[in-house]
């Protein structure tokens, strides 16, 4: 009564298992069991910056050679190194689909998500280093404390004068109102933009692209009334005015957030606020 499927094929031989599904072989390494066609393989050379504060006085490069499938990403190559060559290599990763933001590192000098850096785009030795502008904890693991503190400082949450009861239902927000800020809500906090930003490298107190963009995202949200509070952090020397509009942040962003445009819009908003406050009689932004 409860089995909608035709009777199963008879179980002959019985090696104990149900009919095997195609199975990948390595943890975290994408490889369907080839059937018919074979996967293209390639020997990949990685040069990884190693540092262990327990034993090292300074960082040094270590060379690894691993056989990889052509369609793999740099993270897959690192995983294969860790699994089959060197269990002491350390780095962060989780989702393998460019949404958790864990695996940011410098690949051939560029800030990249290693799970979204395809081997097919690289020739020769691939150089892998920790994300620049952040202190190194160990190997490719950096300390994001400064970024975490800055995120908090821009008050990235809806601020209202009066709390709306749940019983009153949703805030109406038209698709057009949503589209005003949605792009800026897509930041995965991977910090590639901080590694790319020359200004953040020079002046570490700069609030920086991702955090400022998040402030802008809430400022633009039709449900929010906290812009004035937020601008006290944002429209300052350490805030948007530190940005010299190099635009590197937007170039490296893996989520197409375009922080550079958010920062320019914030500058305009900040200027208008200043004009209203200082030049118009009795003006309050």
């Amino acid at each position: 009564m409860n089995a909608p499927f035709p009777p199963p094929p008879s179980q002959e031989g019985g090696d104990g298992g149900s009919q095997a599904m195609p199975a990948p072989y390595h943890d975290g390494l994408p490889s369907g069991r080839p059937s018919g066609k074979t996967m293209k393989e390639r020997l990949v050379q990685l040069e990884v910056l190693r540092y262990n504060p327990d034993t090292d006085t300074e960082a040094h490069f270590q060379r690894y050679e691993v056989m990889c499938q052509e369609e793999w990403v740099v993270l897959d190559a690192l995983n294969k190194v860790k699994e089959s060559i060197d269990p002491t290599l350390n780095y962060r990763w989780s989702c393998h689909m460019a949404v958790c933001g864990s695996c940011g590192m410098m690949i051939n000098g560029e800030p990249k998500l290693s799970c979204h850096s395809f081997l097919r785009d690289y020739e020769g030795v691939i150089r892998v280093e920790p994300l620049t502008h952040f202190p190194v904890e160990r190997d490719l693991v950096t300390a994001p404390d400064d970024f975490m503190e800055k995120l908090k400082r821009v008050k990235p949450y809806v601020i209202t004068k009066q709390k709306k009861p749940i019983e009153a239902g949703e805030y109406k927000q038209t698709p057009a109102q949503l589209m005003k800020f949605r792009q800026y809500s897509m930041c995965i906090n991977c910090m590639l933009c901080y590694a790319a930003c020359p200004e953040y490298g020079l002046t570490p107190h700069f609030v920086g692209p991702a955090a400022l963009t998040l402030a802008h995202r809430y400022n633009l949200d039709s449900r929010d009334e906290g812009r004035r509070e937020r601008m006290e952090v944002v429209a300052t020397r350490e805030g948007v005015w530190e940005c010299t509009f190099v635009g590197a942040c937007s170039e490296v962003c893996p989520a197409q957030v375009d922080p550079a445009s958010a920062l320019q819009q914030l500058k305009i908003v900040g200027s208008i606020d200043w004009i209203v406050e200082h030049l118009l009689p009795g003006g309050k932004p």
């Binding site: 089995a3 298992g17 095997a20 599904m21 990948p24 369907g32 995120l151 990235p156």
Partner: protein, 585 residues
């Protein structure tokens, strides 16, 4: 060992953990909350959920519909009092997220939009494009930043619960950047540590989903419930296992075999519906267990498509058009393009079922309480018996919210009635953790490699505990996992450093997964029936006489676990037939 004294410790800072923390901060701002996680909150796997979250809000929908969809979808293994509580809380929680700024998709008039999902009779899935979990997680994380009573301990690896007089009074954890141990003394603990899908080799789960929270409770004596129910999502990318959301089919995508036939009609989910006009609760909008099982049958019949990544069926979305795909499925479009080289606007994408979600977990009741006083659990790590034998897509994101909050409220109540006790026995309990970690460091004769044991575990789970199971296969699985648990006592720690030692963390994670895997295999062997995601080739029928009950697995150190059972709560829906013929019969 340094001590952190607090009121509530939450382990896990994904959707459920963050929701619990905010509920504590709002309801009882004087209680100190320690929110610990082995990753920064934004990295939690909630971020990878795509499709959306179910809650009754539209006028044509009703609580009754959501109730019956969930109970039938779960093949009557859900506790119906739990489902009742859940469906009523769901819209409130989703509205709460809306007030906190979650960028839900909207109708033209500004109200929240909903989309169709598998096994649901009405459209009730709230969504934020195909990044719903991502937006829920970030909205919760950002909202949590305003509460001073929440102290986060990011990248602290939870190790052992501290028990005293049968009550849970805190836990030990390792600060990952220093390698130093800490003990957290608290009045209550909430585990929100996520699932354990990484015990399988082919999974949508991120690397962090290793069942540490489940294992921590299990080791402390809490039973794991219904662990044999492992959900295969029918549409994963065949190489990376990345999820292609059910919304692909909700929006009108179809599944075909190598002959171009929409084969689902051959497995009780027909007759065929017109292409591009998806009908609720039938064909491609059937439930996940049935769709994954249909793939297996197509594989046996030789109807699958051979690809370099294995045997696949095809998910065809071409008829949706570029505009709808870019607007509603941008992530799916990007994933298929970059990882598989398929443009879903132009070509069908090969897919196959992939391990996605554990229906089972730490046994909890509708109040999110475990049988251990002072210990609460929520989210995928818990089995509150909402999902029964098969979870419906878009119920789990809401489960995080509803039961994350409930765990917090239950903890507050519990603490209110708690009399003060002395904490010195906890110090001794914490010392056991120190000895466990030091033993790993000191062991010189370790001869088992972490990656070798992990590979064997994964292969065993894939081979013996897949979509269809047999007595012989499961027995082999039980024996093998038990053997691996024994060999694990000789696992070798290569890296003896203190700072961010991922060799050590992976060994600890493997221990968690082996514990969970043992509960899965033992539970599956004992359940001689087919129900939802647990399908036996030798017991093909559902057996309500003997198995309309929850499997409860209790850990025993060196022995096989003890299996017990608990009755299912049936209130108003007696077990019936799961009908996915779209009311056409």
């Amino acid at each position: 060992m340094e001590t952190v004294s607090t009121d509530v410790v939450i382990v896990g800072a994904g959707g459920a953990g963050l929701r619990a923390a905010i509920a504590l901060a709002e309801t009882a701002p004087k209680l100190r909350v320690a929110l610990i996680s082995k990753v920064y909150p934004m990295r939690s796997h909630t971020c990878a959920a795509e499709g959306g979250a179910a809650g009754v809000i539209k006028p044509d929908d009703s609580f009754d519909f959501h109730f019956h969809d969930t109970v039938g979808g779960g093949d009557w293994l859900s506790d119906q009092d739990c489902v009742e509580y859940f469906i009523h809380e769901a819209p409130r929680e989703l509205l709460q997220l809306e007030h906190w700024g979650c960028p839900w998709n909207r109708e033209a008039d500004g109200s929240v939009a909903v989309r169709p999902f598998g096994g649901m009779k009405k459209q009730r899935t709230w969504f934020a494009a195909d990044k719903s979990g991502f937006h829920i997680l970030h909205t919760l994380f950002q909202t949590s930043l305003q509460f001073p009573s929440i102290t986060r301990f990011d990248e602290y690896f939870g190790l052992d619960l501290l028990m005293h007089d049968g009550r849970c009074r805190g836990l030990t954890a390792m600060e990952m950047r220093s390698g130093e141990l800490r003990q957290f003394h608290a009045k209550a603990v909430i585990i929100a540590g996520g699932g354990a899908g990484r015990m399988f080799p082919f999974s949508t789960n991120g690397a962090i989903k290793t069942g540490d929270g489940m294992a921590m409770a299990y080791r402390a004596g809490a039973p794991l419930k219904d662990m044999e129910f492992v959900q295969y999502h029918p549409t994963g990318l065949p190489n990376t296992g990345s999820l292609l959301t059910e919304a692909c089919r909700g929006e009108g995508g179809i599944l075909t075999n190598k002959h171009g036939r929409r084969y689902l009609q051959d497995y009780g989910m027909g007759p065929e519906t017109p292409v591009g006009q998806p009908q609720l609760k039938t064909m491609e909008l059937g439930p996940r267990d049935r769709l994954s099982q249909a793939y297996w049958h197509e594989l046996q019949k030789g109807n699958t498509v051979s690809t370099p990544w294995g045997e696949c069926v095809l998910l065809d979305m071409r008829h949706l058009g570029a505009k709808k795909i870019r607007e509603r499925l941008p992530l799916v479009h990007e994933l298929a393009e970059s990882y598989l080289g398929v443009d879903i606007i132009k070509d069908p994408v090969p897919i196959r079922p992939v391990v996605h979600y554990m229906m089972g977990g730490i046994s909890t009741n509708t109040a999110a309480a475990t049988p251990l006083p002072g210990l609460f659990a929520a989210g995928e790590c818990a089995c509150v018996s909402l999902n029964g034998a098969n979870r419906l897509g878009s119920n789990s994101l809401v489960e995080l919210l509803v039961f994350g909050r409930r765990a917090a409220l239950s903890a507050i109540e519990y603490i209110h009635d708690l009399s003060p006790t002395n904490t010195s026995p906890l110090e001794a309990a914490a010392d056991a953790t120190r000895q466990r970690v030091e033993a790993l460091h000191r062991r010189d004769d370790g001869n088992e490699s972490m990656s070798g044991l992990r590979r064997e575990m994964m292969d065993t789970m894939e081979k013996n505990v897949g979509i269809y199971r047999t007595e012989a296969g499961l027995q082999e699985g039980v024996n093998k996992i038990h053997e691996l648990r024994e060999r694990y006592t000789r696992v070798k720690l290569t890296d003896k450093s203190r700072v961010f030692n991922t060799d050590l963390f992976q060994i600890l994670e493997l221990g968690s997964m082996l514990d969970c895997a043992e509960a899965v295999t033992v539970g599956a062997l004992a359940r001689r029936e087919s129900r939802g995601a647990h399908q036996r080739l030798d017991y093909v029928e559902r057996d309500d006489t003997n198995f309309l009950r929850h499997t409860m697995v209790y850990r025993q150190d060196a022995e096989l676990p003890r299996v017990d059972y608990l009755d299912v709560v049936i209130t108003r829906s007696p077990p019936g037939v799961r009908d996915y013929s779209g009311d056409k019969r």
